[in-house]
Symmetry: C2
């Protein structure tokens, strides 16, 4: 399958966009008109530059507000089109996107639309150009892809077909199965975009929140399946309008886009079955070892600490303590690694490991038997990683596509100095939480350890190890629930959902990382996010040196 991407999807000047798109391995581009208008490159220079980079110009877009206009507007529209056809000749592009009319002057007449599009296609044919007609979700009279297809069929011109766009189709809830009713050769182009589910005006949703397939919640893969079954043989082309991508590094965005297309086409994922280990690195590993000992871990190797199935590697490396690597148990580590490489994950030189976009190294290991039972810690419950805010969608795609984790809905957590966004990704016992924040200077990296008895665990801990929790928090818990007094005495935080209960505790921070101790009772599915604002406020206060809150 050929791959393509609209130039509007990545940041930069047109020249920078082309370079980034080619570097990510795309076959072609959709040239977005505004990118050309603002460029000092002549159309001939753009053509040459793209060819030098191995890129074809698959589509020129958009051409707006043409069809179903009063007769006296037709000649102006045809004149405008002819100028664009001449431009496309200079660019070496032979497919023009015409999107459905949004003008208040447009007439609600399929006959008129078909007539005028036929005229346009006839003129286009003289230039060897074809027209792909697309229903915008907010088109004035044509907002459904099957409506656009009816008009194209009625027009009956070989140079006129439809352009399908997954966002326009799925955002308005249309059933994409109707695509299979369109002859494949009349689907001139297929544009792909995903989006988070947002209850907002569809135009604003489209212009600001689109993302690459697999980053949002639309079934883009299903739609592609329908198009392929219809016989579509053109490129899979990404067209994303996203406020964050506009600011982000173009090469990284283009690579994310390429990964999203590969993920539509790779074999079934190898689902990891558990955490093999988590690796911490620090210039001075001493305090980490002391904390692990205090948490009941046994040192079972030079760098290895074990308790039940929880394994923590502590490695000496420059810098403050930080989470450096994750080992995942895989039923087939070689297949996991091969899939990661196919999805363009960066391979760490000299290691059988890949690098996540946030720099975390990830390795795959066969399942191992649990270590010694030295306390109440049973296994690693989850690992929380911090992402730069403009890498969030890319990270979600990486963990979903490369590691076969299923993304959960994003949550927003109020921090005293901003809003933190948090998204859990999981596959059975493998749970990774991605946190982003624009708030500087606070660690949200942590390893959460599942315990079989948190009260007993807490009782056995030495003083000073835990984050002190304000008494006001437990006063509120007492008002809401009838809980054992142990929770207040031991500083245990609490949450419940319809499936069960969640008890947790946080340690103080070492360098950039801290531990969480958790106990899931019943089938509780969350991560205690409701308590995160309290944790963040206390961590800020400690980081600012406002002094310890006296433990209760």
């Amino acid at each position: 399958m050929r791959t393509s991407i609209a130039t509007v999807s990545v940041s930069g000047t047109l020249a920078e966009k082309l370079t980034a798109i080619a570097a990510a391995g795309f076959d072609g581009i959709e040239l977005f008109e505004n990118d050309l208008l603002a460029s000092p490159l002549s159309p001939e220079e753009v053509r040459l530059r793209a060819a030098d980079l191995g890129l074809t110009i698959d589509l020129y877009q958009p051409f707006r507000d043409f069809e179903a206009m009063p007769a006296d507007s037709l000649s102006a529209g045809m004149r405008r089109a002819e100028r664009k056809f001449r431009l496309m000749e200079r660019l070496g592009a032979d497919l023009l996107l015409v999107c459905s009319n949004v003008s208040p002057a447009a007439i609600d007449s399929d006959d008129l639309a078909a007539d005028q599009l036929r005229s346009l296609a006839s003129l286009a044919a003289e230039y060897g150009i074809r027209i792909a007609y697309e229903a915008l979700a907010w088109g004035r009279h044509v907002d459904d892809y099957l409506h656009a297809w009816r008009i194209v069929r009625q027009a009956g011109h070989p140079n006129l077909g439809v352009c399908l766009d997954s966002f326009h189709i799925l955002s308005r809830g249309s059933d994409p199965i109707g695509i299979e009713a369109i002859p494949g050769e009349k689907i001139f182009f297929l544009q792909l975009a995903d989006a988070p589910l947002l209850a907002m005006d569809v135009l604003q949703w489209s212009r600001h929140y689109r993302c690459f397939p697999g980053q949002g919640m639309l079934d883009v893969a299903g739609l592609v399946g329908h198009a392929l079954r219809a016989g579509y043989a053109g490129p899979l082309s990404l067209e994303v309008f996203n406020d964050v991508f506009r600011q982000a590094d173009a090469r990284r965005t283009a690579l994310d886009g390429m990964r999203s297309l590969i993920a539509l086409d790779v074999p079934e994922p190898v689902v990891p079955s558990g955490f093999a280990f988590a690796e911490l690195a620090a210039a001075d590993p001493g305090p980490l070892g002391e904390m692990l000992t205090a948490l009941g871990f046994a040192r079972t190797g030079d760098q290895l600490w074990e308790q039940g199935a929880a394994r923590i590697v502590v490695r000496e490396a420059p810098g403050k303590a930080a989470l450096a690597a994750i080992g995942l148990e895989s039923p087939d580590p070689d297949a996991s690694m091969a899939r990661a490489e196919a999805l363009r994950a960066g391979v760490v030189p000299g290691e059988r490991a890949i690098a996540a976009p946030d720099g975390t190294r990830i390795t795959f290991r066969p399942p191992a038997s649990p270590g010694p039972v030295t306390g109440h810690v049973v296994e690693i419950d989850h690992v929380a990683l911090t992402q730069p805010w403009h890498h969030f969608d890319g990270a979600a795609l990486f963990y979903r596509a490369v590691l076969a984790l299923t993304p959960q809905p994003s949550l927003e957590v109020p921090d005293p100095y901003g809003l933190l966004r948090s998204r859990a990704m999981n596959a059975g016992p493998v749970r990774v939480v991605l946190n982003i924040t624009q708030v500087q200077g606070l660690p949200s990296q942590h390893i959460a350890l599942a315990c079989d008895d948190l009260v007993a665990t807490a009782r056995a801990l030495p003083p000073g190890l835990l984050l002190p929790i304000p008494a006001n928090y437990h006063d509120d818990l007492d008002a809401r629930y009838d809980l054992p007094p142990d929770y207040r005495d031991l500083g245990i935080l609490y949450d419940r959902d319809e499936h069960g209960e969640f008890l947790h505790l946080y340690t103080v921070t070492l360098g950039h990382v801290f531990f969480e101790l958790v106990q899931r009772i019943g089938g509780y599915r969350g991560y205690g996010a409701v308590n995160a604002p309290v944790r963040l406020a206390v961590q800020h206060a400690l980081a600012a040196g406002e002094g310890q809150v006296p433990p209760q």
Copy 2:
């Protein structure tokens, strides 16, 4: 009128919030529960801290999901309430906000709601506490303020009244005139928030996009008028949930909030009648003078350059060339200055000038007669100022409240490296454009000069003065319009709206500032924003030293 603000409206720890709120001159606070829960301060310490700062705790909030619940839930709700009443005793707070139930378990029965709220009010009375019942716009069965009032009236308890919130009332399109049907003494509390008009889910809109009165598009002042006519005598209290305010400096936010309340109550504004001057400052004023000469200005004083009614002051000051001050013609400069001071504008020490939030100095002058006609420049058309992105709402409020300019809708302008937000504010010929961007390093400060003949102006300019416009831009203009060839030859940019046409040109940048030359034909109302992406792309290319685009 007493002033109050919910602690959730500003950033920081509870202690930092209290300090910032007191510094802005508020009389009291609404204590937001989560701020207390995350605080190491005990309720008694919060009470003391507030009292020391001269702040009363006017409201404790919110108490959720209480009323209209099945009978077996009542005792848990009453138990929860009693804990909160005891907490409020410790805080010295005597008013509790109860917001309408959003629980799926809530029963659609006003009788039940009234009964249970009466029980709650009876218990509250034992503690000397009153209950303010508020209809959330997304309440399960009660989402309208008059519905809440009917329930309160039916409950008929002296310790039960309503809380009115301008966002909840205006966001759902309710007519606020019904407030006048509520006896003033039964309006226990009045919360004020404005918001931009957004077509999105009201809960998301409320939680992320609220702003202070005058920063958005809701008629908060009108609603306050209804409440005062009803006899409301409690505080005007701000309650804003805003993602940007959460990150911004608490003192600045609190001052903006105080300004928004003062603006509800100050006398009629003194509307400026024109630009008296714009002042540029540079360590080396030479190049600015040369550019002004090239633009046809006459040097009429040591630091003054004039052409028609356009006056530019060029002052020597450290740093690169920048826009430093604006003089506005006022029919009553003393009244303008007094109003600005009443609205807490910072007064520049030793000058009859105020400082805008972006640092621009502003002075008021009596109208003056125009200077010499030395070319085609007639007057200053508009001044564009750059704002840090997290100061945008504050700046909009400043220019609206202090300078009596009317805000126009925000526009979004694609820049190659991000999205730029632009909002024009105007009063007749006084037009100020506020630009924000997260894109670093590009000037958007400029002075636009109105010309009576832009073609003639452009012909007379020396080479190298203007920003080179890509030929692709004019190819597109030619496709869309039938324009004089002069426009292409002279590099003139073009726009039209339903009222008229707009011709404009940009100079190259000197330091941080550039000039625009504009001609409005007919009643064109915009600022050529459609062409801004082209300007930005060329400015980026020049700033990156990618070389001059050859002039056409």
